[in-house]
Symmetry: C2
Subunit: 193 residues, 2 copies
């Protein structure tokens, strides 16, 4: 099993010795999923956090009328879960599925709780991860509040150029909080510039 990517990811914030690496990797479950596979359904328990080794996932919220609001795209080298459901052991609010054939490493909630105790460095790792996630979401709130749809799209292009190549536009529209039709209008204006 090739743990290279995930270990490199972890080493961005903490340094593990050999035995810690062995312990950590022994708790990971490797998973291959085809495109369009449902990984978490709203209302279900969310026991795992997933590291996307290759491929791409999408997390979204479904309202009463089944309108999708895309919360995040998790391309390779991202971690994804319904954090609230995972941490609080509550039914999921989010739905997560794959938008490409993907390979994942999953960590169970129980294993993570053990990991915090056996290798306290992981408290630090996940603190930093949570910090970064918090800052990113806060920035997104600011941008949703203060920018027009057009500006949000231009910013998205700059920030996540890889995503545009790999994800249907309607999902990007949903992430930006607009309809696919209106995104199409925005894109047309941009080209003619």
């Amino acid at each position: 099993m090739d743990f290279n990517n995930i270990l490199k990811n972890v080493s961005k914030h903490i340094t593990l010795d050999k035995s810690e690496i062995d312990y950590f990797t022994s708790k990971l479950t490797y998973l291959e999923v085809p495109k369009k596979k449902l990984l978490l359904k709203e209302g279900q328990p969310c026991n795992v956090i997933s590291y996307v080794n290759t491929g791409a996932l999408r997390a979204y919220y479904l309202d009463q009328q089944d309108n999708e609001s895309v919360i995040m795209f998790a391309l390779n080298d991202w971690w994804v879960t319904d954090m609230h459901a995972f941490v609080m052991e509550q039914p999921a609010l989010l739905t997560i599925d794959s938008i490409e054939d993907s390979t994942l490493f999953q960590l169970q909630k129980k294993e993570l709780d053990q990991l915090y105790i056996k290798v306290p460095k992981f408290e630090r790792f996940f603190r930093i991860m949570m910090q970064n996630s918090y800052v990113r979401e806060q920035l997104r709130v600011v941008q949703n509040l203060s920018l027009s749809a057009d500006d949000r799209y231009q910013l998205f292009l700059k920030k996540y150029p890889q995503v545009i190549q790999r994800v249907p536009l309607k999902h990007i529209a949903s992430y930006l909080g607009i309809t696919p039709e209106f995104l199409s209008v925005i894109r047309k204006k941009g080209i003619s510039k």
Copy 2:
């Protein structure tokens, strides 16, 4: 000095012994600020994280045309900082000021880094705090994407009833991402129901 509130806050997630309490509290700076005092200005370094002991603060983003977007209200028993600026030691994106006479406990970035080393339990404390903040912001993104202004206001009323009593409506409008004029319209409709 009365550390009761902040110690109770910390004890929600970790348990400290006497010496740890002494060390922690010795690093806190007590601060009294009058209403409308500027605590952090966009562009400035943000060296501290503040615990609001009594009173209320407001954190907001100012765009190029000086439009305010309120990011959060920090009433008593909340922590507040420009997390990105604080953690990354970058110039602040946010502005923070007081909306009531307030008393704060502040912790310097350097002291916090030391605290993580001397009392590693605080890694856990701040991990949980970051987790909660992340989940809250993510929920806010969902709600901004999927709900009408009216629904967002009704939800805000339910979730933060104390805030309405203490904060000018124009700031709440800004938090909700609408103009004060439009909030006024929403409120009128609500009353006549």
